[in-house]
């Protein structure tokens, strides 16, 4: 592809994604730029504190959400998880260019950006961060995102080129990361970085806000960063209070000492809305889905008919309605519905059909020969142990409903509720038959770690799922940059999984966030509510 055609293609992509932004039902934008006021404070309650302000050492996923207040990334995303430049939302690069063979990407950085201490933000900062991220001494938790990167080279202060070992569909996603100020760590070795004061007190930042206060386990306060190179945020201060207990978080919300609480549990929504007319409920799909994982080496679950029968024998709609009060969606596979370019909307969830399930089981040889209500074959009952973890009441309740549903088709599921860490250890050791668990999906779409058979040995394919068709689709898809071609590949990938039912995909959970209705201009995306916090404003600050 010639360079000009590529640019045309990107422009077309941009227009396409702009038009598709409008129909994002999850977002709520009642802001009108004329009325936006400056000032005010937003206080949020969060369930746990951040572990590190340094992206290199942070293990939790919600750390990233908080660090977005302080640090710009090289690139950014739109609400549909498509990568964009700083023309769309604040980030370091305003554009990029692929080489003709797609093995090189050059990022062009904005030239007017400065760190909060006045030092310009340049390609050297990007290179420095990249080098630390691949340094084994650092142990950056996401280091494998650079597996495809061969070299990284600074061309000049505002151009940086990444050279890839092979063509990879998510090249841009993988070079999108939080950038650290090189000059702060000038004479600091990688060993020393782990306990560097910057990790607790990030004094030099690039984002819309800077850290004013951090009282561990209690409070985080952000104030405006005067050196921020993009248009200044409207809200003066963001404060996060750490309140581990959900009821206490909601009490603080009701008394008005807090204006925003994320992840309200579904059964609370109705009463919260009724008693507190000043609250808006923001409801939109999250990146987390729940599933039943079947161990594929197991004599029962290596048979696709049995897996399909299990899925069809479980009334997933009823679980969504009863446990999630409708704040979840049935799930067809591992692609998130918000990922409009890849999500195969032609697939509908397998219907709840106990009769069909029974006949599938009969086809596999399981009938109720001894008339005890449990199917059997060669004198053995159709029974297995279904595990889940104790910390999640929703999972335990779902497990109970699943057990009851399966009983109706003559399958005996014995529940075993274990501690989360025990479940993980047993899953890693393949010491289970079936388990209810969940994944929080990555923004970057690459199913290798969970679905490719090579990830059985080194990855998260802990259900020993091996399907040559899936492997080759993944191998092909992750090397295809052409959007039309890759859409076909990923559609096919979902169809194969749908037929095969390696998991029983249960549901995608919704984010349910409660926010004071004086806070305006809030847009959401699958990663949470702070997507465009720099554009928020308060009606009467």
């Amino acid at each position: 592809m010639r360079r000009t055609t590529l640019i045309c293609f990107l422009v077309a992509l941009f227009l396409f994604s702009c038009s598709s932004d409008k129909d994002n039902k999850g977002s709520k934008n009642d802001g009108n730029s004329l009325q936006k006021k400056n000032g005010g404070t937003v206080v949020s309650a969060i369930s746990s504190d951040i572990d590190s302000w340094n992206t290199l050492f942070s293990q939790q996923s919600h750390g990233e959400e908080l660090r977005r207040f302080l640090f710009l990334k090289t690139l950014t995303y739109n609400e549909n998880l498509k990568i964009r430049g700083s023309d769309f939302r604040p980030c370091l690069a305003h554009s990029w260019r692929f080489s003709e063979d797609f093995l090189n990407v050059t990022l062009y950085l904005q030239e007017n950006l400065r760190w909060s201490d006045g030092v310009p933000i340049t390609a050297h900062d990007v290179l420095f961060t990249y080098q630390k991220m691949i340094d084994p001494v650092i142990g950056y938790p996401h280091f494998s995102r650079f597996d495809f990167v061969d070299t990284c080279r600074v061309i000049n202060d505002y151009e940086i080129k990444f050279h890839f070992k092979e063509v990879y569909a998510n090249e841009l996603d993988h070079i999108n990361f939080e950038v650290l100020p090189k000059h702060v760590f000038d004479r600091v070795s990688s060993e020393e970085m782990r306990d560097h004061p910057f990790n607790e007190n990030p004094s030099v930042v690039s984002g819309p806000y800077r850290l004013k206060r951090w009282e561990r386990g209690q409070l985080i306060e952000f104030e405006k960063n005067p050196e921020y190179g993009f248009s200044k945020p409207h809200i003066d201060r963001f404060i996060f209070r750490v309140i581990p207990n959900q009821i206490s978080r909601l009490t603080s919300l009701k008394t008005g000492s807090v204006q925003l609480v994320q992840s309200v549990s579904p059964e609370q929504v109705e009463s919260l809305q009724k008693d507190n007319p000043n609250l808006n409920m923001l409801i939109y799909p999250s990146l987390s889905y729940e599933y039943i994982g079947w161990l594929h080496d197991h004599p029962l679950f290596k048979d696709r008919r049995i897996r399909r029968a299990m899925t069809m024998g479980i009334n997933r709609r009823q679980i969504v309605d009863a446990l999630f009060h409708g704040y979840a969606r049935e799930c067809i596979g591992p692609v998130h519905p918000a990922r409009k370019d890849f999500y195969n909307s032609r697939l509908k969830p397998l219907p709840y059909d106990p009769e069909q399930a029974k006949s599938l089981l009969a086809e596999a040889g399981w009938t109720d020969g001894n008339d005890d209500g449990i199917l059997d074959k060669e004198g053995k009952n159709l029974s297995f142990v279904l595990k889940t973890n104790i910390n999640s009441q929703l999972r335990i309740d779902a497990a109970t409903m699943i057990q009851a549903d399966l009983k109706k088709i003559g399958v005996k599921a014995v529940l075993e509720i274990v501690e989360f860490n025990v479940m993980i250890a047993q899953q890693t050791a393949r010491d289970y038959e079936a388990l209810i668990s969940g994944w929080s999906m990555n923004i970057t779409f690459d199913p290798t770690d969970i679905w490719h058979s090579k990830s059985i040995a080194s990855g998260y394919n802990e259900h020993n799922y091996a399907n040559a068709a899936v492997d080759s689709l993944i191998d092909l898809g992750r090397r295809t940059l052409d959007k039309d071609k890759s859409r076909h590949i990923w559609y096919r990938f979902q169809e194969v999984l749908y037929e095969d039912q390696p998991y029983t995909f249960l549901y995608v959970k919704d984010h349910v966030d409660a926010i004071d209705n004086r806070i305006k201009g809030v847009k959401t995306w699958p990663k949470g509510v702070y997507y465009n916090m720099e554009e928020w404003w308060i009606e009467e600050p």
Binding site: V43, G139, S144, V242, I243, P244, N245, Y460
Partner: protein, 321 residues
């Protein structure tokens, strides 16, 4: 007495080492994966091996044990896996918060418990006594999380008198000293009350029965018959002996000073040791589990020692030398 204390301190060293050894092997042999937090498709699968190497989890258990003992004896508690920082820093953050909450509530529960117990013993079988008895059992039986939530609903949500969570208001730093202290007190009232009231009820029961036991003794009758005023009989003669069981209980409560209370801390968003201890166990954060076990073991032994010393203060007949 000093000789006795020194002897007790020395005999407690093997006890503590024994506790730590047992804990070390039990927590390490318990199923569970300290690296479970890295199981996340957003995190590179290979990081688990890197971290296992860094945390020394690949070494055989006995080697890990000796390494841990060696570091421990040099005062190094190691690095917490889940907090990603030195164990000692984690403890330094949590201990002051817990100490404030637990010492206030312990003191309060002892004082109220003694007062309630004495009054109901002296007025035994009156309306007051029956009322206190019923109330004590009621309070003692009440789950503290329920009480905490009820108090939050009443005092924070309905009456808007007291804050529902955290140790101080957001802008408390900007206040002058007195309003600042008042702000801290307001935040502490509910959690301290929840922690204290159950203990006060049980201590009141102990105090009542022990005082009733003592005032039946001959020497009390003697004191009364020689014409001492009643309050002197009670406070000077009866109380000294009646307090001995309370001292035992108070001594046993000392470990609680540093272990905190998970439920109250979680509900009131109080960043103390209760949360640290429970999370360290759930996360299989071995260095942190070992450090908190060490603190608990020391506190238990210390509490017993303090109680023993107090016995001899209260009852000069008790001698250890």
């Amino acid at each position: 007495m000093p000789k006795y204390i020194i002897r007790r301190v020395f005999t407690s060293i093997p006890i503590i080492l024994g506790v730590l050894t047992v804990t070390f092997f039990v927590i390490n042999l318990t199923p569970g994966d300290p690296l479970a937090m890295y199981v996340n498709p957003e995190i590179s699968p290979g990081i688990r091996e890197i971290m296992a190497e860094r945390f020394g989890l690949n070494d055989p258990l006995p080697i890990r044990y000796f390494k841990w003992i060696k570091n421990f004896l040099t005062g190094d508690f190691g690095h917490s896996y889940s907090h990603n920082r030195p164990v000692k820093d984690v403890l330094f953050d949590a201990v002051p918060h817990t100490l404030l909450l637990s010492s206030t509530s312990l003191l309060l529960s002892i004082i109220t418990g003694i007062a309630i117990g004495v009054v109901s013993a002296l007025k035994k079988y009156t309306i007051y006594d029956h009322l206190v008895t019923v109330l004590s059992f009621f309070i003692y039986a009440m789950p503290s999380f329920w009480l905490a939530l009820m108090l939050i609903i009443i005092f924070s949500l309905k009456l808007r008198l007291l804050p529902a969570s955290n140790v101080r208001s957001i802008d408390a730093d900007t206040l002058t000293l007195l309003p600042y202290l008042w702000n801290r007190v307001q935040h502490a009232i509910l959690p301290v009350f929840v922690l204290a009231i159950g203990n006060a009820a049980s201590k009141g029961r102990y105090m009542r029965s022990s005082l009733l036991e003592v005032i039946r003794q001959d020497y009390i009758r003697t004191a009364r018959s020689k014409g001492l005023p009643e309050f002197l009989v009670i406070w000077k003669h009866a109380m000294r002996n009646a307090l001995i069981p309370i001292v035992t209980i108070a001594g046993l409560s000392i470990p609680f000073l540093l272990s905190g209370s998970l439920i109250v801390e979680v509900i009131f968003a109080w960043p103390g040791m209760g949360q640290v201890i429970i999370n360290s166990i759930f996360n299989r954060d071995y260095p942190l589990v070992m450090a908190t076990t060490f603190i608990s073991a020391v506190m238990v032994i210390f509490g017993n020692l303090v109680a023993d010393v107090f016995y001899s203060v209260l009852d000069p007949r008790i001698r250890f030398d």
